[in-house]
């Protein structure tokens, strides 16, 4: 690939032609204040002669002996043409380009002068994108514009980015609409677009601006315009950008082997003493009082065997003694009513007295003594098996393994991008090719993402009245997918939790068999041993074996083994996106445009793997190969007719149009098992040559076909009077095959007004150079949560025990329609000090109604699997404030600018019957960590409210509830011990007024789940700082999110015997030296309702952070030097991303969006950290060369 790129460079460089010189013109380029302008481009008009000013602002150029015109251009200044006179010295003054006045923004089916824009549209230009080496355009946009929140879904190469414009407006997906060169597309396409090919990005934030996209504009629109060849007609520009970088991860620290051993000895002793005291509790049960034999086992428990720690002493005495006394009395009763014989009575009384004596002899031990006792004895009752595992484990002398160190590594990344821009009176051409590759900090090349991208944009003025053009991208991306952000079997969660006392590899088979013997598998026959070694065990490349632990781990096994097993899972996307258009301009005021767009995508998934056995849960009896090819084809035809004309002081522009779209999806997949050979070259379906019974059972294939169509009619009119008073209106009528013919069409209107106050004669504030007040209202729709045929009721063919059956579907809902958003926006734009200082403030109020949800319907209306139809219910409100503050100036040769964006968001579900949407939250039933509920933020965090840690028995005894009716006082957490989390009793008793269980009831259960945080930040900030001095440039980008929570969900409640974050050790409560902020060592959560682990607010952490997202230092060589080798610009730079992070969050990365699988409907899991792949620190060196 690199070779091909070099060839292209050579070829393109050849296009730069050279001419002989006639006379030499020199001069100095300065700005209005007399500051010199190094790097300004000076061209001799009508020729290809061009040069650039040096560090002193001086240029020198050959020109014909007579005449000639110089064209001088410089970024941020208006280009100027100067006739060459007789003098050979031509000095030129450039005037700053007041962008706010002349800049044009893309508004969808057209452009508009920025000064006349009445909506809220943010524009990000190519040069703003360039100072950050981003893979995806969304990453480059982060913090550049207010009102938009970008978050990582994962740090792994090729991962998607979560984009939310003005909050979250749905219980389902709230993705903005992406438009590339007029073509509707999706965020998934961004993986195949190189940010370096982008000319500008416009973000349509308010409803009026987005209204031209009608039914799909409700979540905002991101319009991407790729580069064109238009520009310098004097010269072909060839540009090369390339960088090479290293990524270093900073993963969350887990307990070291020594800490782990220490922690679990302690946890074990705590839990043993609690278990013992709990078995004492059963003494008080009626059955135990009656039948002595029932409790002999229990009484023989650890309390008596190992004495009791002071920690539990009081409790044991207070329960056991009265119970035994009661049993004693009961024996008397039993004897007197003849239930037992005298002999039985004597035996029982003797046994009870023995226990009483033992109890009397109990002496409290210190916790350390108790712990030592425990670890010196062998425990043999069946229920001690799991405990014994832990004890054996922490008793080893092994130094163990830091699994996080094992899986993380320094990973390389690089990018090369080359482009050619050529322009003439008749035609413009932009050509580019790029190559990007990035290894993962987890797994390195096993987690690689690679992209090739080619682009050809061209347009031709065919006749005076007709222009033809086309934009085409051909791209391929390939990602190797490891199971990463997954609580169940993912590599990171496995590394965080895996047994740290074992080594990562076994060197020989004796260790393998020693392990299997220790878990009770003896492999006595030679055949069984052979089978295990040859067909089951996974080997490293150098022939070692992956180790295993005797601890129960289920699917969480050696993370290195998961890595090797998953490395052949490759997803390849091949995409062609393009359009072809013609513009006919019969009159100056009228343009007709016809455009065909298409996006053809093939997604291929390849996977194969061996049979293996990592433990009894994670194993596969057969090797297999899986293939899937999916083909998606989107096509779109747009017809628009645009009218622009001025009638005196009245300026009118209007657009009417019509659009039709079609989507077809198609996929086939297949699986075969028992591959003939296990290597890449046998990685196809027909490689299986020995079908057998098992194979028949597992060989599987499938596929789907899907289609939907859309049509639209739209119109827009803009009017202004002397560019002082502006008015705009848009209407779009959309039809979609996704709905029944009753609800197929929707109409989406909008209106907007603007007033350029500074143009008024009465407005005379000297330092205010610009003041515009604007307001808009509009309505948009969203169909992204609607699947094809969602409204239809269907019967489905299924199989039951080999019989073909047909099952009925849900009761249909023909009234299903779009989600609709209505938004009001009021904004004001200021320019101060000749627009050196700019400020934009926007306030908006957005309401979304008709959310799609499955309400609770009488179950007899449900389908065979209990499903019901989607209905339009519910309402969400997003309100916000946005600030964009910019300042740019220079001090002599030092040019600088700063841009601060700030976003405030208040997001709330305003109408939703909580009873109507259950069972949809992240984490799943019964505990749903996120919930969609009226009066709360969208998918807010819900859990037990922790009120600190119990420091003593006294605190537990004092944490009581008094029944208002009976006056009886009970303990709220009767099972708690010191070091446990104190949970707030929020509800339980039904409030007669509201009908909700909102009155405390003295019990901790599901009624006590309450608000414990929200995933979306209230405030986001972005700060860009740029400075330039004599060829050096420095830029910095800081990003902050304030007031949000993250659900740190990396510890599974059912795997508490495994390792965990170091903070569990360092912050833990211990007897006597307690802290009040973290729980004691523990390895079970045996509380009713699992209050202690995962579900309480200790795990919903403050996720606010400030991060230095990027810092870049560049140096541009003096032009005088580089132009000798025909290079007009040569810049080197070093850059670092994610260098500094300030946060209280203890997990791996506070910059977390929707986690989990990219394609699934994971909208309910924003901010849920399941072992998140952290964003790596990236160190990059790069070069930009322009020929």
């Amino acid at each position: 690939m690199v070779k091909k790129m070099l060839l292209l460079v050579t070829f393109l460089a050849g296009l730069v032609q050279l001419y002989a010189q006639d006379r030499t013109i020199t001069g100095k380029i300065v700005d209005e204040a007399g500051n010199i302008l190094p790097g300004a481009t000076v061209t001799l008009k009508g020729t290809t002669k061009v040069t650039v000013t040096d560090l002193n602002g001086v240029y020198s150029l050959s020109a014909p002996q007579e005449g000639g015109t110089l064209v001088v251009s410089y970024v941020g200044y208006t280009s100027q043409e100067v006739q060459i006179g007789e003098s050979n010295t031509v000095d030129i003054n450039l005037q700053p380009d007041i962008q706010a006045l002349n800049e044009v923004v893309v508004v969808g089916y057209g452009v508009q002068k920025k000064s006349l824009v009445t909506g809220s549209i943010a524009k990000v230009k190519a040069e703003d994108l360039a100072n950050q080496p981003a893979l995806r355009v969304e990453q480059a946009l982060q913090g550049k514009t207010s009102g938009v929140i970008f978050n990582q879904t994962s740090g792994n190469p090729g991962a998607q980015v979560t984009v939310r414009i003005r909050g979250v407006s749905s219980n389902g997906k709230s993705e903005p609409l992406f438009i590339i060169d007029g073509m509707k597309t999706s965020k998934f396409v961004m993986n195949e677009i190189d940010p370096a090919d982008i000319e500008s990005v416009e973000v349509l934030k308010d409803a009026a601006s987005a209204a031209i996209y009608g039914s799909e504009g409700a979540n905002g629109v991101i319009i991407i315009t790729t580069k064109s060849g238009a520009g310098n007609k004097e010269k072909v520009t060839v540009t090369y950008d390339g960088y090479y970088g290293w990524q270093v991860a900073d993963p969350v620290a887990v307990m070291s082997t020594a800490q782990y051993k220490d922690y679990f000895r302690e946890a074990y002793a705590y839990d043993k003493s609690i278990e013992a005291s709990n078995s004492i509790k059963s003494f008080a049960l009626p059955a135990f009082v009656e039948k002595v034999s029932y409790w002999t086992d229990a009484a023989d428990s650890l309390i008596f065997k190992y004495n009791t720690p002071a920690y539990q002493y009081e409790r044991v005495r207070s329960i056991a003694e009265p119970a035994l006394q009661k049993a004693l009395t009961n024996q008397q009763t039993l004897l007197s009513n003849g239930s037992i014989t005298q002999k039985q009575y004597d035996n029982n009384v003797k046994a009870i007295n023995n226990k009483l004596e033992a109890l009397a002899n109990l002496r409290p031990l210190t916790f350390e003594q108790y712990k030592a006792n425990l670890f010196n004895k062998k425990l043999n009752s069946p229920t001690d098996k799991a405990y014994a595992n832990i004890r054996d484990n922490v008793d080893t002398t092994s130094n163990g393994t830091n699994w996080m160190d094992e899986i993380f590594q320094v990973a390389p990344m690089q990018k090369h991008h080359i482009s050619v821009q050529a322009s003439s009176e008749k035609a413009n051409l932009y050509l580019s090719a790029s190559y990007f590759t990035q290894d993962g900090v987890v797994g390195g090349a096993k987690n690689n993402f690679t992209r090739y991208n080619f682009r050809l944009n061209g347009d031709v003025q065919a006749t005076k009245w007709m222009k033809l053009g086309s934009n085409v991208t051909v791209a391929q991306s390939k990602s190797r997918n490891l199971p990463l952000n997954d609580l169940y079997g993912g590599i990171i969660s496995a590394a965080m939790s895996h047994d740290p006392t074992i080594v990562p590899y076994w060197n020989d088979t004796s260790e393998v068999f020693a392990y299997y013997r220790s878990v009770g598998r003896n492999y006595t026959t030679e055949a069984a041993r052979e089978d295990l070694l040859n067909n089951r065990l996974l080997k490293t490349e150098d022939g070692r074996y992956y180790s295993n632990t005797t601890m129960p781990v289920n699917e969480r096994v050696n993370p290195l083994a998961i890595m090797q097993l998953s490395q052949n899972d490759v997803a390849t996307t091949e995409r062609v996106i393009g359009n072809a258009y013609s513009e006919i301009k019969p009159f100056k005021f009228l343009t007709y445009r016809l455009s065909f767009s298409g996006e053809l995508t093939y997604v291929t998934n390849d996977n194969w793997g061996p049979a293996y056995k990592l433990n009894d849960t994670r194993q596969r009896d057969y090797s297999y190969v899986y293939k899937q090819i999916a083909r998606y084809y989107n096509s779109q035809i747009d017809n628009t007719l645009s009218f622009v004309k001025s009638f005196g002081d009245h300026n009118v522009s209007a657009t009417v149009g019509q659009s039709a779209e079609q989507y077809i999806g198609y996929s086939v997949n297949g699986t075969r098992i028992n591959l003939q050979e296990l290597n890449e070259s046998w990685n196809y379906l027909d490689a299986v040559q020995r079908p057998d019974t098992l194979s028949k059972l597992r060989d599987d294939n499938g596929g789907f076909k899907d289609k939907n169509t859309k049509m639209a009619y739209f119109g827009r009119v803009n009017y202004d009077f002397r560019e002082k008073y502006m008015f705009g209106a848009t209407i779009r009528r959309d039809g979609s095959s996704l709905f029944s013919d009753k609800k197929r069409w929707g109409v989406f209107p909008s209106f907007s007004l603007g007033w350029n106050v500074h143009k008024e004669s009465f407005f005379n504030v000297p330092f205010v150079s610009l003041m515009k007040v604007r307001g808009s209202w509009g309505r948009n729709g969203s169909t992204q949560n609607v699947d094809a045929y969602m409204w239809i009721s269907t019967k489905t063919a299924q199989s039951l025990g080999g019989a073909k059956t047909i099952v009925t579907g849900v009761t249909k809902n023909e009234d299903l329609k779009w989600e609709t958003s209505e938004q009001t926006d009021i904004g004001v734009d200021f320019g101060f000090l000749k627009n050196k200082l700019t400020l934009t403030i926007d306030w908006y109020n957005k309401k979304t109604i008709d959310l799609l949800a499955k309400p609770i319907l009488p179950a007899w209306m449900a389908s065979s699997s209990g499903d019901v139809a989607y209905y339009n219910v519910g309402e969400v409100s997003n309100k916000g404030l946005e600030f964009d503050l910019g300042y740019s100036d220079n001090i002599a040769d030092f040019k600088y600018d700063a841009k601060l964006t700030a976003t405030y968001l208040k997001n709330e579900v305003t109408d939703f019957n909580a009873q109507r949407l259950t069972g949809y939250g992240a984490h799943g039933a019964p505990f749903e960590a996120t919930a969609f509920e009226e009066g709360q933020p969208v998918w807010y965090f819900r859990g037990y409210k922790a009120e600190g840690i119990f420091q003593s028995w006294e605190e537990i005894r004092n944490y009581t509830y008094t029944d208002p009716n009976t006056g009886v006082v009970t303990l709220i957490q009767p099972d708690a011990v010191p070091g446990d989390v104190k949970i707030k009793d929020v509800g339980g008793t039904v409030d007669p007024k509201t009908g909700k269980a909102s009155i405390p009831d003295g019990k901790i259960d599901g009624n006590d789940y309450t608000y414990v945080g929200k995933p979306m930040p209230s405030w986001t900030f972005g700060l860009n700082l740029n400075g330039e001095y004599k060829g050096f440039d420095l830029s910095m980008f800081w990003y902050a999110e304030v007031d949000k929570e993250i659900y740190n969900n990396t510890l599974r409640g059912d795997f508490l015997h495994l390792n965990r974050a170091e903070t569990f050790y360092t912050n833990r409560w211990t007897e006597g030296s307690g802290t009040n902020d973290w729980m004691r060592a523990r390895y079970t959560d045996n509380t009713t309702g699992s209050t202690q682990i995962g579900f309480n607010s200790l795990f919903f952490e403050d996720g606010s952070f400030l991060r230095l997202k990027n810092i870049q230092l560049g140096y541009t060589l003096p032009v005088s030097l580089t132009q000798k080798v025909q290079i007009s610009k040569l810049r080197f730079y070093v850059s670092a991303s994610n260098l500094l992070t300030f946060t209280n969050y203890t997990g791996s990365d506070p910059e977390i969006g929707y986690t989990g699988d990219n394609n699934s409907k994971n909208h309910n899991s924003f901010g849920v950290d399941r072992g998140m792949y952290p964003s790596a620190k990236q160190y990059i060196i790069g070069v930009n060369i322009t020929f």
Binding site: A386, G520, T550, D706, Y789, I792, I806, T811, I856, Q915
Partner: protein, 524 residues
């Protein structure tokens, strides 16, 4: 019109026609038919599609399996064994599956997901039966008559479950019955169940004998006339005991018809009843009705697995090193009380079949060491854990060693109704009709199969013996809970039983929210 205007006019005309041509303006483009799906409502203008009707009738049975167990938290099987004194809920820890825990501890509330889901499942089954009954006309066509008889049978089956679990529930009988329906008195529901079953028999639409069933029909245990009669007999027994009304003669008529049909008999080897190789389709003569499961990869019911999940739920937790057993999650563990009941009767054959033990209790003469079908785990050196509700026992009737694992999918069908249940119901019926000798005969027939000495009791002792026999014979088969309730023994035998609720479950809150006519059961 001057020249310039005319040019403009013509241009507009041309441009608009361009737009029309290029975009195929017809709104028919928006009619996109679904791929690979049948429309819900049959087209009245087309002849009846008998294949479709037969397929739909078969489809009704998939809901029996689905109702029984297809999601981890809501297995009817695990729930009602845990609610009785047969088993505890088990699992990894308190709160692992609160649905089962609440069933065992009688801490159910109307928002419990187990409660909600069981309710939903049975009603969705009823909804499907109603749709089939309403969607097709009554015509004298065999396929149609059979489908409708089956719909009535299954609707009765679902209402029988609902009335036992929830008591006075709403009773929609039409597919047009929508949101709001009041509670129906229990007696009316019984009357409707009996009417549906009698109608199904009277319609003559059902096959008379299992021999008329195809292998595919046998795989899903499609109803014959005797399936329906067996259920009707059971309903009458419940009717007599639960409502204290004398329906014993009706019960006897149906149950004897089943007994005398020659369709069913007891298998010799008790334990072989729970083998995936001895289902009705394999010729098991004792099986009357089964929930059908498959381990075929990729099969599901709209996202719901088609395998027997109970097997995974009830397997031994964290099991390592026991050949042939894959282990599971340790739910639904037999209690010491149940084991003691077997030991008291020296009933080693049924204990072997019903219970898997970590180490056998030293009783029944050292447990006849050689007869143990699953030698104790400890002696094999296997590792496992029992973190919650430890009893040392696991369910033996659906043990994993009989059935190859397929990614948590087990093909083993579950026996919902078997012939020995019929015989024991007959014994109970005869007892209440005063025919003690006949009653004793049935009990001894059951005992003889497992090599236990015959009983010769009379009077109250005989009734107790019949009850004891039901406990041992049908242990871990979800019968015990309702048996205890209808015998009035629930409070006495079930440790956590809440008398205030009469053993009925709460009506789901979400249903009460959408149905203002509906009232909550007593005690909630």
């Amino acid at each position: 019109m001057n020249m310039k205007m005319k040019t403009i006019y013509n241009t507009f005309l041309i441009l608009f026609s361009c737009m029309a041509i290029f975009s195929s303006c017809s709104e028919d483009r928006l009619d996109v038919e679904p791929f690979g799906k049948y429309a819900q409502d049959p087209d009245p203008n087309r002849p009846l599609d008998l294949n479709m009707i037969d397929g739909e009738a078969r489809g009704l049975y998939s809901q029996v399996s689905w109702c029984y167990n297809t999601q981890w938290g809501y297995s009817t099987y695990v729930t009602f064994n845990s609610a009785s004194d047969d088993a505890v809920s088990g699992g990894a820890a308190a709160g692992d599956r609160p649905e089962y825990e609440a069933a065992e501890k009688f801490t159910l509330d109307p928002n419990n997901l187990g409660v909600i889901n069981l309710w939903k499942r049975f009603y969705s089954g009823i909804g499907s039966c109603n749709k089939l009954l309403d969607n097709y006309p009554d015509k004298d066509i065999d396929t149609l008559k059979r489908a409708k008889a089956e719909a009535k049978f299954l609707r009765a089956y679902y209402y029988f479950n609902l009335v036992n679990i929830f008591g006075p529930v709403p009773m929609p009988l039409k597919s047009t019955d929508l949101a709001e329906m009041p509670n129906t008195p229990i007696a009316e529901i019984y009357a409707q169940i009996e009417k549906d079953l009698n109608d199904a028999i009277a319609s003559n639409g059902l096959p008379k004998s299992k021999k008329q069933l195809s292998s595919v029909d046998l795989a899903i245990t499609r109803a014959t006339e005797y399936t329906v009669r067996a259920f009707l007999g059971k309903v009458y027994v419940y009717h007599s005991t639960m409502l204290n009304e004398n329906k014993w003669q009706d019960a006897k008529a149906q149950l004897e018809a089943v007994k005398n049909s020659g369709e069913y008999s007891l298998v010799t080897n008790f334990r072989s009843l729970w083998s995936s190789k001895n289902e009705m389709k394999d010729g098991n003569p004792e099986s009357i009705f089964e929930a059908s499961y498959t381990d075929i990869y990729g099969e599901n019911w709209g996202g719901v697995a088609t395998g027997n999940l109970d097997m995974q739920l009830m397997g031994i937790r964290d099991l390592q090193g026991y050949p042939g057993l894959d282990g599971g999650w340790g739910f639904c563990k037999p209690t010491q009380k149940l084991v003691d009941a077997f030991i008291a009767e020296s009933d080693s054959i049924r204990l072997d079949a019903t219970v898997v033990a970590a180490s056998w209790p030293a009783s029944i003469a050292q447990w006849e060491a050689d007869k143990k079908l699953l030698p104790s785990l400890n002696s094999k050196g296997a590792k496992y854990s029992e973190p919650y509700d430890p009893t040392g026992y696991w369910n033996g009737k659906y043990r994993q060693d009989e059935h190859p694992l397929n990614a948590d999918m087990y093909a083993q069908n579950e026996l919902i109704y078997r012939f020995s249940d019929v015989l024991l119901l007959l014994a109970e019926t005869e007892y209440h009709l005063g025919n003690e000798a006949a009653a004793l005969g049935y009990v001894n027939q059951i005992r003889d199969r497992v090599h236990l000495a015959p009983k010769s009791s009379t009077g109250m002792q005989l009734l107790n013996d019949i009850r004891k026999e039901r406990q041992l014979e049908l242990a871990m088969e979800t019968q015990r809970y309702w048996d205890l309730i209808r015998w009035g023994l629930a409070a006495q035998e079930i440790p956590n039983f809440k008398t205030s609720t009469k053993g009925l479950w709460p009506i789901p809150q979400e249903q009460l929210n959408v149905d203002p006519l509906l009232k909550q059961n007593e005690g909630y």
